[in-house]
Subunit: 660 residues, 3 copies
Amino acid sequence: MPNLSDVTGRRILYGGDYNPEQWPEETWPEDIRLMKAAGVNSATLGVFSWSRLEPRPGVHDFAWLDRLMDLLHEAGIGVVLATPTASPPPWLGHLHPDTLPRDADGRTEWWGGRQHFSHSSTVYRRHAAAITEALAARYASHPALTLWHINNEYCTYDHGDEAATRFRRWLQDRYGTLDALNTAWGTAFWSQGYGDWAEVAPPRHAHYLRNPSQVLDFRRFTSDMLLECYTAERDIVRRHTPHIPVTTNFMPLWSGQDAWRWAEEEDVVSVDLYPDPRDPFGAQEGALVQDLTRSQARGPWMLMEQAAGAVNWRGVNHPKPRGLNRLWSLQAVARGADAVCYFQWRQSWQGAEKFHSGMVGHAGEHGRTHQEVVQLGADLARLGPHVAGGTVGAEIAVLHDWHAWWAADQEARPSTRVDHADVLRAWHRALWQGGLTTDFAHPEDDLTPYGVVVVPQLYALTDAAVDNLLAHVRGGGTLVCGFLTGVADMDDRIRPGGMDARLRELFGIRTLHEWWPLDADESADCDGFRGTLWSEEIEPDGTASETIPYQGGELDGLPAVLRKGSAWYLSTLPEPDALRDLLARVAADAGARPVLDALPADVEAVRRGDLLFLLHHGRDPVTVDVPGTHRELLTDTVVTDRVTLGRYGVAVLRDPEPAS
Amino acid sequence: MPNLSDVTGRRILYGGDYNPEQWPEETWPEDIRLMKAAGVNSATLGVFSWSRLEPRPGVHDFAWLDRLMDLLHEAGIGVVLATPTASPPPWLGHLHPDTLPRDADGRTEWWGGRQHFSHSSTVYRRHAAAITEALAARYASHPALTLWHINNEYCTYDHGDEAATRFRRWLQDRYGTLDALNTAWGTAFWSQGYGDWAEVAPPRHAHYLRNPSQVLDFRRFTSDMLLECYTAERDIVRRHTPHIPVTTNFMPLWSGQDAWRWAEEEDVVSVDLYPDPRDPFGAQEGALVQDLTRSQARGPWMLMEQAAGAVNWRGVNHPKPRGLNRLWSLQAVARGADAVCYFQWRQSWQGAEKFHSGMVGHAGEHGRTHQEVVQLGADLARLGPHVAGGTVGAEIAVLHDWHAWWAADQEARPSTRVDHADVLRAWHRALWQGGLTTDFAHPEDDLTPYGVVVVPQLYALTDAAVDNLLAHVRGGGTLVCGFLTGVADMDDRIRPGGMDARLRELFGIRTLHEWWPLDADESADCDGFRGTLWSEEIEPDGTASETIPYQGGELDGLPAVLRKGSAWYLSTLPEPDALRDLLARVAADAGARPVLDALPADVEAVRRGDLLFLLHHGRDPVTVDVPGTHRELLTDTVVTDRVTLGRYGVAVLRDPEPAS
Amino acid sequence: MPNLSDVTGRRILYGGDYNPEQWPEETWPEDIRLMKAAGVNSATLGVFSWSRLEPRPGVHDFAWLDRLMDLLHEAGIGVVLATPTASPPPWLGHLHPDTLPRDADGRTEWWGGRQHFSHSSTVYRRHAAAITEALAARYASHPALTLWHINNEYCTYDHGDEAATRFRRWLQDRYGTLDALNTAWGTAFWSQGYGDWAEVAPPRHAHYLRNPSQVLDFRRFTSDMLLECYTAERDIVRRHTPHIPVTTNFMPLWSGQDAWRWAEEEDVVSVDLYPDPRDPFGAQEGALVQDLTRSQARGPWMLMEQAAGAVNWRGVNHPKPRGLNRLWSLQAVARGADAVCYFQWRQSWQGAEKFHSGMVGHAGEHGRTHQEVVQLGADLARLGPHVAGGTVGAEIAVLHDWHAWWAADQEARPSTRVDHADVLRAWHRALWQGGLTTDFAHPEDDLTPYGVVVVPQLYALTDAAVDNLLAHVRGGGTLVCGFLTGVADMDDRIRPGGMDARLRELFGIRTLHEWWPLDADESADCDGFRGTLWSEEIEPDGTASETIPYQGGELDGLPAVLRKGSAWYLSTLPEPDALRDLLARVAADAGARPVLDALPADVEAVRRGDLLFLLHHGRDPVTVDVPGTHRELLTDTVVTDRVTLGRYGVAVLRDPEPAS
């Protein structure tokens, strides 16, 4: 299979979405000139061009795209060519209203925005296949073509009638019989027993709580339908260009796609990444998404979209302060990206995203943002030969699974304050703050590469996943596990005892009496720290090697944290510093060391290949101890024993051979 | 008519909803074993079993229920048998979409949850009657059958077309002519004059405010339609088993049912009660609902549902701390309950309520929650012979009326901060804190049993109700009346002067100039206390015996509180301590004494029959003075002059003959 | 054309909406008696009387209205006669469901409230024309008729199918070709190119952001459709009574109507005004609306609706404290009103607005509110001959444009905290607090009457408007301009450079690098004050005469405020005192003086004709220096050099000839 290195070679891809049909054609040569000056080597075309490419059903206009492809090729800029199927032309919805999605309330999602397509619509799929076929046929041998980009940010739900039909078919495939479905969904409760497949429907608006297993399966179904849309288009382009890799861009940590499953169907894993420039944890959010994407890619990955400055969809949209775009871009490279791209090259002057920044903003060529884009282009060109293709090593794996998330994130649960993604963020941030590099893994993945496995929260686990965790500990590995893990099976059926019995035994828990979720004004004092969000009334079985008790309150004296050998269980969420320190200690005990010791606060250190990236997320200069002599690649200077980083400063050191 | 004592005898019923069809049949003997060990003597079957009992239209499967009834009977456990009509099987909505309710926005409420039935659907009613008929015929003579439980928590609205048809018919019955309807609804305003019955519809989504009298009648209609559903099923079961009492379970203080009217149609009044274990006023909420339910029952009543631990529908669902389940259960007994039951026996492992606790929780037999259930079973068994059938006396009546609530709780009113139920809570809580036992009564009820009548707020009053209040005062009774009382008639037509003239005369009010509702950041200083929520610009007529003035602000010097003889009017809501003290003084003046004097804070005292219940709602031990010698029934010990209550402690004293 | 002075003569109109069909006819003589006693000389009839006037389609009942017209005429009270078309009878929606509007979600807006008419419905328009025709024919020569009031508070949107048809037709008129529409809407983005007019629709619910130019045009269309409804009825009444002026009442600062355009079609400009009595800036809100309405009227205007006391549609509805109704009414007169009217004469006793106060409230004749109404009637009668027809002069113009507002107020913009109306309020309030009287003007209006032009924010400007601003400055005028001005053209297309180039040149801005919107917890320190809401990264071109820099933060040293000659640009919103002082300084430099110097806080001074109004918005007495000798008209006394104003006090001084 082709892959990202076929595209990048020893370069870092640099560029972004390019939608020049928004401007008069006279603008295009100006774009090319600026791209070349900025070191741009990649442009993504056609993401939202369907109505331009097929203005009437079956009538194509490729001439403008021909000219663009040629123009870019002449300029030495490769093209990521998108199928335009994320936004059908108005004629499709008008001629075929059934191609429009319906939400759970029955509201139609009209055209006039984007993504107004039902993943389940046969008519939509046929038209999407046709435009994909035409596009692939036309550009299969165009020399500018480097990568296929299918659709864009797959993210739609549909509760309409055609979706209902496909949902039934999907359920028939999954369960075979209605009896099996009734068992899996627990329909004996609330008189929901289905006697005919025709009765089964998406979880539409209801008087009161909807069946959670039905909701869970509907999420699986949605991910699968979107994946069918993707693979159908992928297979078409692959038939025309077996040598050209294919991707579709994920939304970071979006709950709608089982990204582990999707990544298997991609040649290149790519992601869109938009931390809030004003979020004090923006860098950590980035690191999380980057680690997750790298783990999905199992190697270098593509940052498909980021913003050079502000986005337009938050309540208050802050620009990126001087240096931040460069810092966060190099952070992505440090964590495995071989492509740094943006939405979009030139900021729109009309339409719904005209306040979303571009590599060329409204301020134009002389705008600060563009000037920084130019500088970054030079940096990436310098780094490319050293870094492209390089791998990032990690001794720690964080487990994540979309199915567990879908099962946990439902109506009527113990605490709506427990947000699966936020718990993940809290744990990954603690590891980041401890200077520990982490991979992500699926709970059934091979865990032998990792000395330490961390489970922030996996509400639902398969038996195989439980086996996997047990084998990891039995094999000498360390496991740290947060609350609400192993509670349910994959049908969302509570395990006897409220938590998998083998896990309880693993941690030394006799009885999990009650969950004590904590409200916003509550916390749980523990010996040495405060717990937040959650606590538990646990009766230990006496086999634990170590416990940290709750202090005061209803749980006084009961274990907040249990360790039994190398297996840890945390029944609360320690406040950030405490979680960081605990994980640092656990990692150290397991021999997993920070990238650098004694890093100043705000400095992130990552090793990629034989390079050491130092990324400074603060504004005041700091000095970092890096014993030995190194070459700093961005400045092409030699540094000895220490390096000083200015505001948002980055150093990329060619590492001497590790001492150990 | 049969009643609750036919079921209880000299026992307290103890048990809960039992939905064993959720588990493999092997679980059932285990359930029986645990029930017996816990002293359970009642199980409610079939609440949500329709799709199991009638898997296809007209096809019945009773065999499993036969086995369960037999099993329970053999174990000596009585069965409360429910008609399963609160959750129709999927086939009903699928075959007959018109049986599904529509909300005011036109959204369908689909199956997949529960209560997805239109109360107005003739097809639904026909199917509900058929399954009720089949159930009643089959189990009429089963020896386990003790009580019929019709449907569950009736609570649905429907704005659809069949509801519109029935609404018109209901209005025709009520008004006879369109002229009368137009007059009652004040349709001369905003050009709403109806010229044809076909034009009249439920109050659906509108551009701006909807007609409040229409909304009021729609609420009456809804209560009546639900009641028709109830009585239709009741009449069926009664025909088969005239000797078996019938109930349906109320939701506490839910606004949708005129519970005074409903209670008349029940043999047993039952209620569901779920105070938040973390609510500092949870016990007072319980006391209110218990007093209200007892008053509706005019005698012993049934606590049909409570939670052994946490519920699942709040944002954060706290479990019950050790002892609280027992405390609140015994509080219900103290206030007249002869049945203490739960939703549900065994906590679900699947479905929408799997995080709602059970008498046997996920932690199982050895879980703390179940252990406390066992202990409570023993306590109830001990108390039963002494308490069952006993009555609770009260010298004070709090007046409440759903129609007044419905009229007050509308769009576009003086203050959305004035919540009818919260005002009721504030007044009842003040009486509770004063140690005063209260009944509830309807404003037209005979008030002669009560020395003191309290009206927290009755925005709308009939002329007969005004007569009743006047007669009460004329007869030497004391009346304490809160603001926004007697403002409107039962069509929601404002009384001349903004408040009934005879009430104004009763309290010594010449002119009610303006309402001054108070915002969240406002209060009204009065002589001796602060008023909250509301204030009024009143011109007294000089006949008051006593006034407490506002101090400062626009109302400086005007009366906040007026007393004329034994009639009190409060134009503001005094802060809690002030309201407690004021009501205590008024009660004392009227000769209504607290159950015990000088009770420690947090201790509740209630007399039932010849028993004195002392309930300690705090966690630190307290000592209560109880002069004389008593037998404490829970411990079977003798106590003299004082009794010490530990955390959440309860004492039930056999009272020596009252001194007076 | 007839105008307001034809109605008023040398009186101030005083009265209000009169809907006596709500009460038995016996009430009417009582109403007349009270009106006369209160000095009421105008009554508005028929605003919501359609179902009474036409109880069945085509069947009219005018007899009751005949009697009312006669009764009022006999009492010497003129009638403002309304077409009743704001609230169609139930039969219209019932017979013609297509006359009901649909919101963007597809929800029908049913009858039972008001304004349940689709502006686009041909059937509605036909019925509205018919009742208007019948009404006009009947009362054309009635001597009580003084003014026509068309419909009421036009404010409806419709996204239904007939609206879609008219929208397409409106767009065809505007753009001629689909190409032109595609260009104007920027449909090249997100694949929205329309290939057939039939595909174009209102901006209905969409998966993600809707096209902002489509939304903008839909707002224009909505204003135009409503205007068509208005002019159609106006033309009918005008045909019958060419001598009787016509109005429709605006909602103050409501965004739905282009009131500049509408005012051109009215003989009398009228407005409804409901500041919150508890809002500390209620008086400033009033002043803003009054200045805006006066500017639309280009002379005296009509206060069509205000409340004598509380309204009913806020969360908490406060009454007006003693004196406030008089104060705010006289403020309107000071700022140009020749009519002071209310909704409504007698407070409803039924229906959706029964808690909205009336000139005769629920407390009746002896209620405080009515007593104050009587006093105000006497005051107005006293002032009428001196003030009616008088003009208010202003040297400062504030520019406002609904199209700019519509373009700015969209989804996905830089900051949802920037509310166009609130920015306008902040600037007008600063001018008010500086004692500066202002007119409002459209950006393309002749600005030569004004020494100072203030642009709080005009996100979109036409080229002609930019020319106008430039010409103003070139002609020696002063311009003060807030941020987010001149950003877009009238299609909502961003101007090159992110702000009109000629404006940038005017202010000395080379590059507008980035917007830095400020979050609720942010501010921007500047030299001498704090900026709020917004800040900008500006590179000046070195031509500015004066700058005020940002201090600290990312923008340290960059200009917050630029002045180049007499053109000022503010890239942030200074906190209130700073904005007041800055504008006062700018005005003073331009020779625009406050009405009076050294006014006490809370005292407003306005000159109208040769009268000086002093309005005291505080509760503690203050003394105002007014050098010279004046006659105070309300008390008919002579005051020399100073006048003392009590709580909410007003003095109206006949001004000696101005010294300058």
